[in-house]
């Protein structure tokens, strides 16, 4: 009980402090550069100054948190990547040299590209389809909850779940893996799915797609509901059928959100390692960059230099996505 009260108090306090910041700083800004109740040049000058400061007030906590929690570690990573395993001695770019010569690294890059091709596309696609379809049926919310469920299950839980799918038992014995049970039921040979090089990548991807579809679905569902109903009505009148309305009217209107979802999942894929760690730990040629990084960073004491240099590579890979986003933002601003 005491803990409960304390918990609630700390929660409320934490949130209030945050809200107070925004409210307070705005108040102060308006006090320093008052415009309400003032007229003429003073008011507009004050307002102009206030308006050029205000965005930064709005952004300040975010920028602070981002700098502290993300930018600073990035700098740290870059610095580490130029040092040896203990992070003490400067070694130049030798970690990077090692990296390009490392077969496992190249394998990871290759696999990561596979992941990048498949997972964002499939998750977004399924998420979109499900969001659109469930919108039109009365039990849509139930369906959505069910499809959202994988998101809510921890990665460890997910790994167990998929073990029950991919599990392999020798031919002739009872299969406890669903996939093999089906294969056997159709007269096939059971396979040790996650040990099949190359293909196992796809079996691992299936897990992430399974999880991330829920994410795509929720975000896209919100976007779909924001589409002006009238445009859909107009299309209905124009004689468009369900498909056409979906692909020609709805999808283009939420294109921005689709791009956001796609980007987010792409970046997530660059970071994904729990699944690989739990299922194969990169064995059977299923290594990916993030897991490789994790490996070097923490396994057996770790080599911070190499771990960090892989992290830097992961971060560099995201640059094209950033450029693409700048373009989009510019285009948007131009259109308005």
């Amino acid at each position: 009980m005491e803990q409960l009260v304390a918990a609630i108090l700390t929660m409320v306090a934490g949130v209030l402090v945050c809200a107070a910041y925004f409210w307070g700083t705005n108040l102060i800004l308006d006090r320093i550069f008052p415009s309400k109740g003032k007229f003429g040049a003073v008011a507009s000058r004050n307002l102009r100054i206030a308006n050029s400061i205000r965005p930064w007030l709005f952004l300040a906590p975010a920028l602070l948190a981002l700098t502290l929690y993300l930018v600073y570690p990035v700098v740290q990573s870059v610095w580490l990547s130029l040092h040896d395993r203990g992070g003490q001695n400067f070694v130049g770019i030798s970690n990077y040299q090692w990296m390009v010569n490392d077969g496992e690294f190249r394998q990871s890059i290759f696999n990561n590209f596979l992941w990048l091709l498949v997972v964002p596309a499939l998750s977004t696609f399924f998420g979109l389809i499900i969001a659109a379809l469930t919108d039109r049926i009365w039990w849509g919310n139930i369906a959505k909850t069910l499809i959202f469920m994988p998101m809510a299950i921890s990665f460890v839980g997910a790994a167990v779940i998929w073990k029950f799918i991919y599990d392999y038992r020798a031919a002739g014995t009872e299969q406890i893996g669903l996939l093999n049970a089906i294969v056997v039921a159709f007269g096939g040979e059971p396979q040790a799915w996650i040990t099949l090089p190359f293909w196992n990548n796809f079996f691992l991807m299936a897990i992430l797609v399974w999880i991330q579809t829920g994410f795509a679905m929720v975000i896209l569902s919100a976007a779909l509901r924001g589409i002006p109903e009238e445009t859909i009505e107009a299309a209905v009148i124009d004689g468009a059928n369900g498909w056409q309305i979906f692909f020609k009217i709805m999808v283009p209107q939420i294109w921005g959100t689709i791009a956001v979802v796609w980007t987010t999942i792409t970046i997530l894929v660059l970071k994904v390692f729990d699944i690989v760690l739990a299922m194969t730990n990169g064995q059977w040629q299923s290594q990916v960059l993030a897991n490789l990084m994790f490996d070097w960073m923490f396994r057996g004491g770790g080599d911070f230099g190499r771990g960090a240099s892989i992290a830097v590579v992961i971060m560099v890979l995201v640059i094209p996505i950033m450029i693409w986003n700048i373009r989009n933002a510019a285009k948007e601003a131009g259109g308005r």
Binding site: A62, L66, L70, G242, M315, L317, N325, A333
Partner: protein, 381 residues
């Protein structure tokens, strides 16, 4: 747009959703069923077989000879191999070599002159002329068809674990502010990025997107170092709730800003303009117009942020610690798994226990993903 719901295509829609839902829940269903099964069965038969009556080979052990009773000059041990769980015996045996040698009702001659009879209902009798010796009971192999059998033991075990209530509260204490604070901060930032002109806006947005990629693991050490430094400076422990809220806030921000900005940028410009003409400042526009209209985006982000902080273990361990007082629910449950992570039955049950709160949050917030929030606002477009 009601009339279109009547089109014959609706069947196709219902069917495809059903199919997708089945596809998506199949793995989870496996987990659910597994969590209700006996742990020993988990490893020997597929979870889907648990739903039907199945034939299985099993071994039972008769009570030890201490329990023998003397009846009509014979020594008898009796019992039931099925232990009252129902089922039908189709064969039995006493040797691992020939586990199905006898039909129910037949009498098997054991090696040492004892006689074993197992009935179809599982009841058995071992009869011997002499007093039976030894401390272990006889093994009885049998083949039985047993009806589905489920147990709540796994859940009971998880729920009765010491400290689970405390951990539950800890998790809530971590998750709620860790959800609300980043939303608050991100919403302001997103508004600035979407609707307030200032130099470097696009670049800043791109940087935010780029920061999405920073691996969590990379940031932990430098951050904790920092915390320790700052904490030491102020004489407070490094691992506090404040610390973990801020950490979750930092890690959640890029996505929050990105999602929210995208949504806010899509709001009709005229509404904002009209508020501006009405004399509202940016702060007022944000609070009174943008925030209410962004509810769908806020809700969807809240769902995810809550979920991540709720399911998170790593950040909690690093920034809050693993002690008994501050352990979060995930940590508590993982600890139940034992050192070698072998207790799947615990894992399956705890997976379902942890899932409940996020699902409630999802259900509660889903209401805010409303349709036609902007309807009636502007004409044109």
């Amino acid at each position: 747009m009601n009339p279109s719901t009547r089109s014959p295509l609706m069947w196709a829609v219902h069917l495809s959703v059903l199919l997708l839902v089945l596809l998506w829940t199949m793995p989870t269903a496996g987990l659910l069923i597994s969590s209700l099964r006996d742990k020993d069965q988990l490893a020997v038969s597929g979870w889907w077989t648990a739903l039907a009556t199945s034939s299985r080979n099993a071994v039972a052990r008769a009570p030890s000879p201490e329990s023998q009773v003397e009846r009509d000059g014979k020594f008898v041990i009796s019992g039931n191999v099925l232990e009252g769980q129902g089922g039908q015996i189709s064969a039995f045996g006493f040797s691992s070599r020939e586990p199905a040698k006898f039909k129910p009702g037949e009498t098997a001659e054991l090696n040492d002159g004892e006689r074993l009879t197992v009935q179809a209902d599982g009841s058995f009798e071992i009869v011997s002329d002499q007093r039976m010796e030894g401390s272990r009971g006889q093994r009885i192999f049998f083949t039985a068809s047993t009806p589905p059998r489920f147990t709540l033991d796994n859940y009971a075990e998880v729920l009765s674990a010491a400290g689970i209530g405390r951990s539950f509260l800890n998790s809530l204490t971590v998750a709620v502010p860790s959800t609300v604070i980043p939303i608050l901060i991100a919403a302001f930032a997103a508004y600035a990025l979407a609707w307030m002109p200032f130099p470097g806006r696009a670049l800043l947005l791109a940087v935010v997107v780029g920061l999405l990629v920073v691996p969590l693991q990379m940031s932990l050490i430098p951050l904790l170092q920092l915390y320790n430094g700052v904490g030491a400076f102020f004489g407070v422990p490094a691992k506090t709730y404040m610390g973990i809220w801020l950490a979750h806030t930092g890690f959640g921000l890029p996505l929050a800003i990105y999602l929210l900005r995208n949504y806010m940028a899509g709001l009709p410009r005229e509404i904002m303009e009209s508020a501006r003409v009405d004399g509202a400042s940016d702060f007022e526009i944000f609070v009174k117009i943008v925030l209410p209209l962004s509810f769908p985006a806020l809700a969807s982000f809240a769902i995810f942020q809550f979920l991540w902080t709720w399911n998170d273990l790593l950040v909690a361990l690093v920034f809050l610690g693993a002690g008994d007082d501050e352990l979060v629910l995930t940590g508590r449950l993982v600890n139940l798994l034992g050192s070698r992570g072998g207790n799947w039955e615990i894992l399956t049950a705890s997976a379902f226990i942890t899932i409940i709160v996020p699902l409630i949050v999802f259900f509660a917030l889903q209401r805010y993903l409303v349709r036609g929030l902007l309807a009636g606002s502007v004409k044109g477009g």
